[in-house]
């Protein structure tokens, strides 16, 4: 039962909260009248629900709008519950006039709910004299009509008669100007119209880079003015003015300075010489020598120092006149910048090592340059003081070294190219000697192949010789015909001897020896049948075997059966034997 009551009460409560939905959107500002220095806090409050979306604001081109978060709240008064959400924005006015803010809108269930509109009046900050303001800024320049590259001092001053916090300075864009900071910011006290102010001063050197009208925009300073809380009592000490302790509140401010217009003049052409290197300001040059007395070949350092205020960064080395008395080695110039509060300037130092080439009193040439003096409005010549040095002769040993040094380094000059042309023609009759490029000439081929043939031939000969020495059968086979041919003259002698069997014996023996050599057997005892048997083992024509057999038979008949032949028959027989041996020599190869 109890549970049921609690549930019912909850339902009624929710219904009441939801009934309180009558959603509304209200816009309010902390002030409706302000100056350009003020910041306005805009609050958009949604009443009735915490679940509504973010309200939309119409565009505000005349203000800088910075969101500052949101806060929610819920109230129960006499049983009536209200809830809501506040969205805060910081509005920084950009210009003076009367402006209408809103209406802001919110979408809820397809329904658009609009807020009220607010009218803001923004007045110029200049309407109040500066001395009467608590905080103000000023910007000034030393000259509004400088020459190109002339130094002008831009001074920013922040005057504060009250305590401020979280100050941040936004410099203007220095378009067409080169900026050099001048020292640290300075802080001092001053009295204006009987009221003390703390002044913070920041100085910068500006160099116009082009002629014509240049605009330096307003500087912008954002800060918060610390306001003392009225009710403090116990902690009545300035230490507790800090908002950290909660005894003070801060009011945001945006301060603007007045824009400055510069009329930059060009440098006059009258009096401008080639010695002018672009320096504008006030400069001077000094010259020093590290040693005034030295020996030939020794080194002394010549230092030129260009010093002054102005655009010293544009300084360049003045031309050093060529001298036959010295050998000159350049060092890298150095620049030391001075950025004191008075103005921008510095020292440009050029160092040269001088090696005297002669003895005696030598004059060091001076250098010169011109710069533009803006106060005088004319170009000024700056010339270094001429110096002289005493060069003493060296000892003999050193002299010798010097001569060597002069011979190798100092007296040599780069070859000057006076002109270019081709080298002349060849007139020698050697140009008529024929010289052919023909790599396929048969002579080259012979020369190429001759060593190869020689090598192969020698190798084959060596192999043959080795075989002849090692293989008896081969040696016999190779010499068979030669041995047979040696016996031919002897046989021929016996040809004409009538009735002798010597012809038949010699011929038969020679033939059998030949066959024995060829077949690597003992030849003299061979019978025709044995010859036939041996030859049949080789692949020789049957006819030739028969012929051999027949010849041997004929010769044996002549030797032993006394069958005689006529001379012509014998010659024919011998011829037949010779042909047979030649044929067999070719056919039987071992």
């Amino acid at each position: 039962m109890g549970k049921g009551k609690i549930f019912l009460a909850s339902v009624i409560l929710i219904i009441q909260v939801e009934n309180a939905h009558a959603l509304s959107l209200t816009a309010k500002v902390d002030k409706t009248e302000a100056t350009l220095e003020d910041q306005i806090i805009l609050t958009l409050s949604i009443e009735g629900t915490r679940r509504a979306g973010k309200p939309m604001l119409p565009p505000l081109p005349d203000f800088d709008m910075i969101p500052r978060g949101s806060s929610t709240r819920m109230q129960i008064i006499n049983g009536t519950i209200t809830s809501g959400i506040d969205y805060n924005y910081l509005l920084i006015p950009k210009k003076t006039g009367t402006f209408e803010i809103g209406p802001a809108t919110i979408q809820e269930n397809g329904e658009t709910i609009a807020s009220n509109t607010i009218t803001l009046r923004i007045a110029s900050s200049g309407t109040r004299p500066q001395a009467t303001q608590d905080v103000f800024i000023t910007t000034t320049v030393s000259s509004t009509s400088p020459y190109v590259n002339e130094q002008i001092i831009y001074t920013f001053k922040l005057y504060r008669g009250v305590k401020i916090a979280n100050a941040s300075l936004e410099n203007p864009s220095f378009e067409g100007l080169r900026v050099e900071p001048l020292g640290k910011e300075q802080e001092y006290e001053t009295v204006m119209n009987g009221r003390p102010f703390v002044v913070t001063e920041i100085r910068q050197a500006l160099f116009p880079t082009r002629e014509g009208t240049l605009e330096i925009g307003p500087a912008k300073l954002q800060c918060e003015i610390v306001m003392r809380s009225r009710r403090r009592g116990l902690f009545d000490d300035p230490f507790f003015d800090d908002s950290f302790f909660g005894f003070s509140r801060s009011e945001p401010k945006v301060l603007h300075s007045q824009p400055i217009t510069l009329h930059v003049k060009p440098l006059p052409t009258e009096g401008k010489t080639p010695l002018f290197g672009g320096l504008v300001g006030n400069f001077n040059i000094t010259t020093t020598l590290s040693k005034r007395q030295l020996s030939v070949g020794d080194t002394t350092t010549l230092t030129f120092t260009i010093k002054g205020s102005g655009n010293i960064r544009d300084a360049a080395s003045p031309e050093f006149p060529p001298s036959t008395d010295f050998k000159v080695y350049d060092d890298k110039p150095t620049l030391a910048v001075q950025d004191s509060g008075e103005g921008f300037g510095g020292t440009f130092t050029i160092k040269k090592a001088l090696v005297p080439l002669k003895e005696g009193s030598l004059k060091v040439p001076s250098v010169a340059f011109t710069y533009f003096h803006p106060e005088l409005g004319s170009y000024e010549l700056c010339k270094s003081t001429p110096l002289s040095i005493e060069v003493l002769p060296t000892s003999d040993k050193e002299k010798l070294n010097l001569v060597e040094a002069l011979g190798t380094t100092t007296s040599k000059e780069e070859i000057k190219i006076l002109g270019k042309d081709i080298l002349p023609i060849n007139t020698s009759l050697a140009a008529l000697r024929p010289y052919r490029i023909d790599p396929w000439h048969w002579g080259y081929l012979v020369c190429f192949s001759f060593p190869l043939i020689g090598y192969v031939g020698t190798v084959l000969m060596k192999k043959r010789k080795e075989r002849l020495e090692e293989d008896l059968g081969y040696a016999r086979s190779k010499s068979a015909l030669k041995n047979f041919n040696k016996k031919i003259p002897l046989i021929k002698k016996q040809l004409k001897t009538e009735g002798s069997t010597e012809f038949y014996r010699l011929t038969s023996k020679s033939l059998k020896d030949f066959l024995g050599d060829k077949l690597n057997i003992t030849g003299s005892a061979l019978t025709p049948l044995e010859v036939e048997h041996q030859l049949l083992t080789l692949t020789i024509l049957k006819d030739k075997i028969e012929e051999t057999k027949s010849i041997l038979h004929t010769l044996e008949t002549g030797q032993f059966a006394f069958e005689r032949h006529s001379l012509s028959e014998k010659e024919k027989l011998l011829k037949q034997v010779k042909e047979l041996t030649r044929w067999l020599d070719k056919k039987i190869r071992k």
Binding site: K420, D421, I422, L423, P424, I425, N426, T427, S428, L429, A430, A431, L432, R433, P434, Y435, R436, I437, P439, H441, W442, G443, Y444, V446, C447, F448, F450, P451, L452, G454, Y455, T458, V459, K462
Partner: protein, 287 residues
């Protein structure tokens, strides 16, 4: 058998004798030197007289006549680097950079170590309009393999033949003499021979197949195809050098050092080949 060997040896000896005999006296047997492509009627003038006359014309600043006479001498068969060099000088003086460079490059085939020639060729190349890149492979070969760039084809061939002979002779001795140090010597000579033979092969390839050309006209368009109606791709000026890749009728396909390719009419180019320049059809200096 013995008779046969003797006969072969005598043929080889005769061949060697004919090959190694001294060069003919200048002006004596020029007709024997004539190549079929260069045969033309030569005026019955002594080559020495022609040469002296050409030099005289050159010194009299009559470069056109000098060039004609040098060409005549070359066409008559007197093939020599000095003549090509003089011809190149004559063309250079006439302002014909392409023909000058072509002549210098042919002279270079004979005289690869001639410093005067090198200087003049470099100067002539400096005078040309087109900036062309050289082939990295060939520049490497020229720098590293000094024998490749410092010897002409004949000289390199002779060096190769000597090394070849030495190599075979050492191989022969090696059969009879077995020694470790001797083996090393043989291997060293063999390696040198192989390197030189590869260089010779490359040089032969370069001489016969890798043909280069030079523009011999004031300004020409290189086209996308072998016809006048094809799109012009880029322009080349007098003296521009390139590689010839292909021939088709009256057109040649060329490639520049940076890989650009295109077609060019044969009549505007000169080939870096001994047989093709001076061209028989060109009337030399007068064109």
């Amino acid at each position: 058998m013995l008779v046969k060997k003797t006969r072969i040896l005598s043929i080889i000896a005769l061949g060697l004798f004919l090959f190694l005999r001294t060069d003919p006296v200048p002006g004596q047997s020029q007709s024997a030197q004539l190549k079929p492509s260069h045969s033309q009627t030569i005026e019955a003038l002594d080559t020495t007289t022609l040469f002296t006359e050409a030099n005289k014309r050159y010194k009299e600043d009559n470069y056109s006549d000098a060039a004609q006479l040098y060409e005549k001498l070359i066409l008559s068969g007197v093939q020599n680097g000095e003549l090509y060099y003089n011809l190149g000088n004559s063309y250079f003086k006439m302002g014909m950079l392409g023909k000058a460079i072509l002549s210098y490059r042919l002279a270079e085939l004979y005289l690869p170590r001639d410093q005067d020639l090198k200087t003049n060729l470099v100067y002539a190349r400096e005078m040309t309009k087109d900036k062309l890149e050289s082939r990295p492979l060939f520049s490497f070969l020229n720098e590293f393999c000094f024998w490749y760039s410092k010897l002409n084809l004949t000289e390199l061939l002779i060096v190769f033949l000597i090394l070849n002979g030495l190599c075979w002779a050492l191989a022969l001795i090696k059969i009879f003499l077995r020694n470790e140090y001797y083996n090393y010597l043989f291997l060293i000579i063999l390696s040198i021979t192989v390197i030189v033979s590869i260089s010779l092969g490359l040089k032969l390839y370069h001489h016969y197949y890798s043909i280069e050309g030079v523009v011999v006209a004031k300004e020409i368009s290189v086209r996308a195809g072998n016809g006048i109606n094809n799109t012009p791709l880029f322009q080349l000026h007098d003296g521009a050098e390139f590689k010839i890749i292909e021939h088709q009728g009256a057109w040649s396909k060329i490639e520049l050092g940076d890989g650009k390719r295109g077609w060019i009419e044969n009549r505007w180019i000169g080939k870096c080949q001994l047989e093709s320049w001076p061209a028989l059809t060109s009337s030399g200096a007068s064109t």
